[in-house]
Amino acid sequence: MILLSQLLLNALVNAAIFSLLAVGFGLIYRSMRFFYIAYGAVYVIASYAVVAAMQISGFPLYLSIGAGVFLGVLAGVLMDRTVYLPLERSGATPGVLLIASLGLYILAVNAVALIFGNEVKILSRGIEPSFSLGPLVITRMQVIQFLVGWILVTGFWLIIRKNTLMKGIWAMGETPNLVTALGLPCGLMRLLVFALSSVFAGVASLVTALDVGIDPHVGMHALLIGAVAVIVGGVDVYWGWIGGASLLALLQGMAVWQFSSRWNDLITFGILIITLLFRPQGLFSPRKRREER
């Protein structure tokens, strides 16, 4: 029973990180309607910027974190300006955008690996202090992950709930032409979406990297967690993304309880395939009317 409670506690912490990843991915997937593989590259770049700032330039931790998130945002926006935007202007199809995105991911991640090496970089030193909640144990880093994740995700929702610009961004995913016709600032909205998505990727990356370190090839895993959470939860509902992320974290925790963490991918992608087959609109999405599909 103690083991189960401990795993549930860990799942809550993981759910916070997964939610960050899901919100970052979901923002782009919902508003641009393309599969943003380079999201994984932003994730990697943010943490390596911290590595560079801390271990090479000797910046203090807080400044480094700022630098990491900033560089992540810069990378995200730059990728949009240099690749996605020109491609979309020339009328690229989703398949072309998907492959270009894959190319960007491969290029960026290997550039990072070329500079910093392929091995894991550890960011934190020493043993993490931990707290006991009765028989359960939680480390300081886990508390930070939990708080940062849930506060950001909830705060973001509170901000965007009544925001016109955000409603415009939401509308961009349904009828992009109408958004221009209504005179909404399309370029600004695009910039904002990429920047915000990179912030979420960056923060998720940093709180993870400060705990377990980072290697250049975890980006794909982060991207897949975010993507699966969004699709399982339902693309059209903000809390669906969070629900999907929490469900993934919970099921992975249960998998650890019953079998072993080695089978996590089986759970993640099993859920993805089952959801796509039986409820393609996502678990937490309301049923669409026939003419809306």
Partner: protein
Amino acid sequence: MNYVLHLLIMIGIYLILSYGLNLVVGFGGLLSLCHAVFYGIGAYTGTLLMIKAGLPFLPAIFLGMVITGLFALIVGLPALRFRGDSFVLVTLGFQMIVFTILYNWIDLTRGPYGIPGIPRPVIAGVEVTELYQYFILVSLFLVVIVAILFVVCRSPFGLALKALRDDEMAAEGLGKSPVHLFLYAFVISGMVASLAGGLYATYVTYIDPTSFTLDESIFLLAILLVGGTGNMIGPLVGTVFMILLPEALRFLGLPDTVAPNVRQMIYGLTLITLMFLRPQGIAGEFKLR
């Protein structure tokens, strides 16, 4: 000389793989990210049938192809209900699931330890050990496969696939069933990959799951995207380019620690550039959608 032969053998194996995948990607217009799964299952079933069941090479390979074909049927039935991003995601999901199973089902596959000491193929009493013999064996299989695929692609079946790719609704209106035709293409492609897997396993005589990862699936797809799809020349161009590029880099004298990353960066850059300039690949006829 041995080095050239080794490269030719690897090109042969990858040509079999890419021609098989071409049927799904080029003729069906579906981006599949689980081709390495069929390659891997072919390698594992072939190997296990030879080692554990004691079957000779040819029966083991053919039985492996049948088993992989059945598996492709199981994957294809749900996956082919989707198009576009969803199809990519479902195939990617199967790729991750099968890799997890290959990696963790230690009783059967020995997981990360891999299977060493795979016997060399024995055909008509001759054991294939020398490189040139291997080259002949792979070439023979390649010629047979390419001939079969050439006929398949020119057949009404291949043309119907192309029609479905270009306009699914119109082709369906003419009585071409996407469910059946895409499924046949998927199963044939899986079986061809299985053959390549069997050849690879007996050539290298050691397999472990890391040869059949998502990265391998991406690599196989990249071969087709670079070379081009929808005809018989594209996969050839792509395979030769993608296999010879790392060797060309070796002659530039890049140190071994950075060479793989530089190679990957070139692959990435090539994909981006092609998407801007030639979305159908260097020699392809089908433009990605």
